[in-house]
C-alpha cells in the first residue's frame, strides 16, 4: 500500500479530494481469514466424510426408510396440531391477561405460571399417566349429575397425551409472546379504532393484531423450531415420532450414530425450510414500514384520477 501515491492523479482537472476517486484499500487481512477458514472447513469436511464410523452409506440407505418417514410425519403432524392449538389458546390467554377483568387476568396468569414453571418432559409423562390420578374422566355439572363418562386410558392415548402436553405448554409461551406483541402496538391505534365505533373484537382483528404480528412473528418462528425439536420428547411416552423411529431401527441394527444422523439431518432440513418461510411472513407484516417501498397496487376501481 505504501508504494501507491497518496492521492490519485487528478483526472480532467477534478479535485483529488472528490470522493468519487476514492479506492478501498486492498483487504489483505480479510482474505487471509477467508483462506484459513476455508482450509479448516475443507479439512473438517474430509475428516467427517472419511470417518467410517459416521456410516454415511447407512445414513443414505435409511434416509427415506418407511419407518423414518412415518416418524417424520408424526413429528410434523404433532408440531402443526400442537402449535395451532397452542397459538389459539395463547391468543385467548394473552387477551385474558390484558383484560381489566380480575377473574380473566388472574386465571390466565395462573395457567401461564404453572405451564411455564414445570418441565415439558414432566408434563408429558404426567398427562400420559393421568389414569393413575383420575381413572375416569366425566363431564358433569359441579355437585350435580354426571352427563357422560369415559375411561381415562381410552381417552389419553400417547397421541392425546402428546398433543395436550405440547399444546398447553406452548400456549403458555405463546400467550406471553402475543401479549408482548399486543402491548407493542401504539395505544393510539386502539383508541382510534374505538373512536370509529369498532367493536373490541374487530379492532383486535383488523387493527391491533396485524400490527402486533411484526413483533409476534420472529419469536413465534423460534417457538415453532423449538416445538419441532420438543416433539422428540414424546418418544418417552412411546409415541412413534422421528426420534422414536430411528431409535427403533438402531435398537435392531445397532447403527446408533448413522441413525441419529438421519434424524439430525431431517430436523435440520425442516427447520431450514421454516426459516425461509418465516422471512417471507416477516416481509409481509412489515409492509407499510419502509418509506421508500413501492406503493401497493391500486384496486381496479381507481382509474379516473390518472
Amino acid at each position: 500500500m505504501s508504494g501507491k501515491p497518496a492521492i490519485a492523479p487528478p483526472s480532467g482537472g477534478a479535485d483529488p479530494r472528490d470522493v468519487v476517486n476514492a479506492h478501498a484499500p486492498f483487504p489483505i487481512g480479510r482474505l487471509i481469514l477467508w483462506a484459513v477458514t476455508a482450509v479448516i472447513v475443507v479439512d473438517f469436511g474430509l475428516i467427517v466424510a472419511r470417518n467410517e464410523n459416521f456410516g454415511w452409506p447407512v445414513v443414505a440407505a435409511y434416509f427415506f426408510d418407511r419407518t423414518v418417514l412415518n416418524g417424520l410425519s408424526v413429528s410434523l403432524g404433532l408440531t402443526v396440531v400442537a402449535m395451532v392449538i397452542g397459538t389459539a389458546l395463547g391468543l385467548v390467554l394473552a387477551i385474558a391477561r390484558l383484560s381489566k377483568d380480575t377473574l380473566a387476568s388472574s386465571s390466565a396468569s395462573l395457567f401461564i405460571w404453572f405451564f411455564r414453571g414445570t418441565p415439558l418432559l414432566v408434563q408429558l409423562i404426567f398427562w400420559y399417566n393421568l389414569s393413575t390420578l383420575f381413572p375416569q374422566i366425566s363431564l358433569a355439572i359441579p355437585f350435580g349429575p354426571t352427563l357422560a363418562s369415559w375411561e381415562t386410558n381410552a381417552v389419553i392415548t400417547p397421541v392425546t397425551a402428546a398433543i395436550v402436553g405440547l399444546a398447553l405448554n406452548e400456549a403458555a409461551y405463546m400467550a406471553e409472546i402475543i401479549r408482548g406483541g399486543l402491548l407493542s402496538v401504539d395505544r393510539g391505534q386502539a383508541e382510534t379504532a374505538e373512536a370509529f365505533g369498532m367493536t373490541k373484537g374487530r379492532a383486535l382483528r383488523r387493527i391491533i393484531i396485524p400490527q402486533a404480528m411484526r413483533s409476534i412473528v420472529p419469536p413465534t418462528g423460534n417457538q415453532l423450531i423449538s416445538m419441532i425439536k420438543a416433539t422428540s420428547l414424546v418418544s418417552v411416552i412411546a409415541m412413534a415420532d422421528l426420534l422414536y423411529s430411528v431409535q427403533s431401527i438402531y435398537n435392531r441394527t445397532f447403527e446408533i450414530i448413522p441413525m441419529l444422523l438421519v434424524a439430525v439431518l431431517w430436523y435440520l432440513l425442516i427447520t431450514s425450510i421454516l426459516n425461509v418461510g418465516q422471512s417471507y411472513i416477516e416481509a409481509y407484516y412489515s409492509r407499510g414500514e419502509r418509506r421508500d417501498g413501492a406503493a401497493a397496487p391500486l384496486p381496479a376501481a381507481q382509474e379516473a384520477s390518472h
Binding site: G288, G293, A301, H306
Partner: protein, 259 residues
Amino acid sequence: MTAAAATTPLVKARDIHKSFDHLEVLKGIDLDVMPGEVVVILGPSGSGKSTFLRCINHLEAINKGFIEVDGEQIGYRMRNGRLQKLTGNGIARQRRKIGMVFQQFNLYPHMTALENVIEAPIGVHGMNRRDATTEALELLDRVGLSDKAASYPRQLSGGQQQRVAIARALAIKPKLMLFDEPTSALDPELVGEVLTTMRDLARQGLTMIVVTHEIGFAREAADRVVFMDGGKIVEMGRPEEVMDNPRHPRTQAFLARFL
C-alpha cells in the same frame, strides 16, 4: 354556518366534571353546539380542552353531568326510568356518527391511505367494498390526495397523513367532527394545507368542534370561540368578540402571546 335555522343543539354538555385519580381536570363544563356550527376551543395547555373533546365521544368517561349527541346520551341509556351504563358495543354504536381527527394522525400504518379510509365504512357501517372505494377516492380527491391512495402512511408527509385522517373521519358521514389539536404535531410549513382542508369543511356546513392553538383558524372559520382555562369555560362568543375584545383577564393574557 347556518346555525340560525336550527333550534335543537346537536351536542349538549351539562356540568361536565372529570378527574384523573385526584386531579380534577374538568370542573363543570356547559356547552351547546348547534347543527352546522363550528366551535373552536382555545386555551392554554392543561386547561382540559382535549379532555373535554375526548369526553364527547366517550374516549374518557365523565364523573358527573351528562353529554348528549344528536339526542342520545353518550355512554348511557335510560332503562325503566333508571340510568344504565352502556356496554362496549352500545358505545361503539353511538360513536358511529362522530368522526375524530387526532393530534398524532393515528392512521393505521399497515394499511394504504385508501384502506385507511374504507376500513370503517365497510367494517362498521356495512358498506360494500366497491361503493366504499368510490366514495373514499372522492374524499381523497377532496383533500387533494387522489394520487396518494395507494401509499402507506409512512410514505406520506405529516400534512398528507393528517389530510388522509380527515378523509377517513369524513368517510363515516359523521354528524359531528371532533378535531383534537390537528396541526400541533405538524411542521410549520405543513400546517396550512390541513387548515385549508378544515376551512373547506367548515364552509360546507359540517358541525365541528376543534381544539387548536391556531388563532388564525379560529378567527376565520369559527362561528363561536370557547376559551377554557383551569377546567372551566371562562369566556365564549363570536370570534371577533372573544379575540378582539376579551373580557376575562385569562383570555387577555392568553391572546396577548399571539400578538
